[in-house]
Structures are given as structure tokens and as C-alpha cells.
């Protein structure tokens, strides 16, 4: 990590992060396939990671990168559990579409 001034302003990175996060949110909202919803969640996590790394770079500290490391670990755990649940749901209901899984509806 050097303290050189960056060629690209910080706002650009943050804007990119916001764009990717938004795309992830739209994906969660409009898609019905649980697997694609999961991928959209991954997109959101990565957008947050990008913001972490950006601030880490521009504040010249490493804490942001450590947090990204943690987020990646949590994402891996989340994917393992989530995919296990999806596999289980598919065994029970023969579908991965979230609007056909409505047994818990009151």
C-alpha cells in the first residue's frame, strides 16, 4: 500500500459498487429461481466488498481489506448452507422457484 494519489477518484469506485449492489437487489426482487436469487445476493456481497476495499485504499488503512476477508468467509458459509437448503427444498417440492414454496404461508 503506497500513499500515492490514485488516478481514479474514489467516487467512481463507490458508484460502481452502488450499481452492482442495485443490480443484485433487482435480481433478488424480480427472479423466481432460488439459485439465481442466491447469485444476486453474492453480487450484493461483492458490491459491499468493493466499497470496503475502496475505503481501505483511500483511507490508507488495512482494516477494510480484513473485513472483506471476513465477508468472503461468511459468504462461503452462507452459500454452503443455502445450497444445502435449496437441495433439500428441491427434494421435497421438486422445484427451486421461490413462489411455489409457500407452505409456510399463514
Amino acid at each position: 500500500m503506497s500513499a500515492l494519489p490514485a488516478a481514479v477518484p474514489m467516487n467512481w469506485y463507490l458508484a460502481l459498487s452502488a450499481i452492482v449492489f442495485t443490480i443484485g437487489v433487482v435480481g433478488v426482487l424480480v427472479r423466481r429461481n432460488a439459485l439465481v436469487i442466491f447469485m444476486s445476493i453474492e453480487l450484493m456481497l461483492n458490491a459491499a466488498n468493493l466499497a470496503f476495499v475502496t475505503f481501505s485504499r483511500f483511507l490508507n488503512t488495512l482494516d477494510g481489506q480484513i473485513f472483506v476477508f471476513f465477508v468472503m468467509t461468511v459468504a462461503a458459509a452462507e452459500v454452503a448452507i443455502g445450497l444445502a437448503i435449496i437441495v433439500n427444498v428441491f427434494r421435497l417440492k421438486e422445484t427451486v422457484y421461490v413462489d411455489e414454496v409457500n407452505q409456510l404461508k399463514g
Binding site: S2, A7, W12, A15, A18, T22, I23, Q65, F69
Partner: protein, 173 residues
């Protein structure tokens, strides 16, 4: 040069993210996501986070996406070609909320960011990024790091328990 690279990676990442959401076939979505993660790793390199760029490629584009593809193909979805964004009401609501979020982001972007005093992590910039991260990880963040290992253990046990599923009555084991 950096600006050009940033713009190229940013365009690639945005395009890949859009394709993830817009593709109908989950396998295609997953492959676009892999490409998107790789371009994000490029952006990490531009931000001088070399260690994270490598971890991004290995863990995200490698391990996590392989897990995704494995599950998609394991499920062997017969009618997996969902009609994309066909539901009319869902589509309108989704895009409206997304547009609202974009507007919110733009309004946030228009404000200046006050950074405050910056800490100097590497006195003369001689540490490599990986060595520096290791130093911080095993000193200031040692306890969270250990807790993380417990989290992974719990996730592993949980995934095995959940995916083992329920056996039919009397099937024995």
C-alpha cells in the same frame, strides 16, 4: 492507463452483473457471475489489494461458483427455463424499487465524502500487501479470526445435517 483499466473492468463487471440477472438459464447466469468476479478481482488489483484479488479469484470464482454449478447440475432442472422477468406486476415493482435505489445512490454520491485523518499503515511502503494483511490479521484481528474458524465449522456441520435430509420411514440406515 489506470482510468482506462478501471472503466474497462467496471463496464465488464456491470455487464456481467446484468447478464446474471437477465439470463434465463441458471448455468449461464453462474458463468457470467464467474466472469464478473474475475473483473472485480482486476478492480481490486487497481486498488492495490493484491491479496484480495487472488482470494477473489480462488475462493469466489473458484470454490463458490463451482459449488453453485455443481448444485445446478445436480438438481438437473427439467424445466429450468423460467420465463425471465415475465410476471408483470413483479417486474414493475422490482424495477421501480431498483430505480428508487439508484436515485438514492445518486443523491448520496452528490454529497462530498469527508474522510478524516488517514492512518499510515506501512511507514515506507516496503511491506507487500499480503504480509501487511497477515500482520494485521494475526494481531489486531486475531480473535475475530479464530471466531471465524468456529463459524466455518458450524456451517460445515449444518450443511451436512441439512443436506442429509429426512429419510423415509423404515428405510433403515
Amino acid at each position: 492507463m489506470t482510468t482506462f483499466l478501471f472503466l474497462a473492468f467496471a463496464a465488464l463487471l456491470t455487464g456481467c452483473s446484468l447478464m446474471v440477472v437477465l439470463q434465463r438459464n441458471p448455468v449461464t447466469s453462474a458463468l457470467w457471475l464467474v466472469l464478473g468476479f474475475c473483473s472485480l478481482a482486476g478492480i481490486y488489483l487497481l486498488l492495490q489489494a493484491e491479496f484480495l484479488a487472488m482470494v477473489q479469484v480462488i475462493v469466489y470464482a473458484g470454490a463458490i461458483m463451482v459449488l453453485f454449478l455443481f448444485v445446478i447440475m445436480y438438481l438437473n432442472l427439467k424445466h429450468d427455463i423460467e420465463d425471465g422477468l415475465h410476471h408483470h406486476a413483479r417486474r414493475i415493482v422490482g424495477w421501480t424499487l431498483g430505480a428508487l435505489l439508484v436515485i438514492e445512490g445518486v443523491m448520496l454520491m452528490r454529497r462530498g465524502w469527508a474522510l478524516g485523518p488517514t492512518a499510515l499503515e506501512s511507514p515506507n511502503g516496503v511491506w507487500g500487501n499480503t504480509a501487511a494483511i497477515g500482520r494485521v490479521l494475526f494481531s489486531r484481528y486475531l480473535f475475530p479470526f479464530e471466531v471465524l474458524s468456529i463459524l466455518l465449522l458450524v456451517a460445515m456441520v449444518g450443511a451436512i445435517l441439512v443436506s442429509r435430509g429426512t429419510r423415509p420411514e423404515g428405510s433403515g440406515r
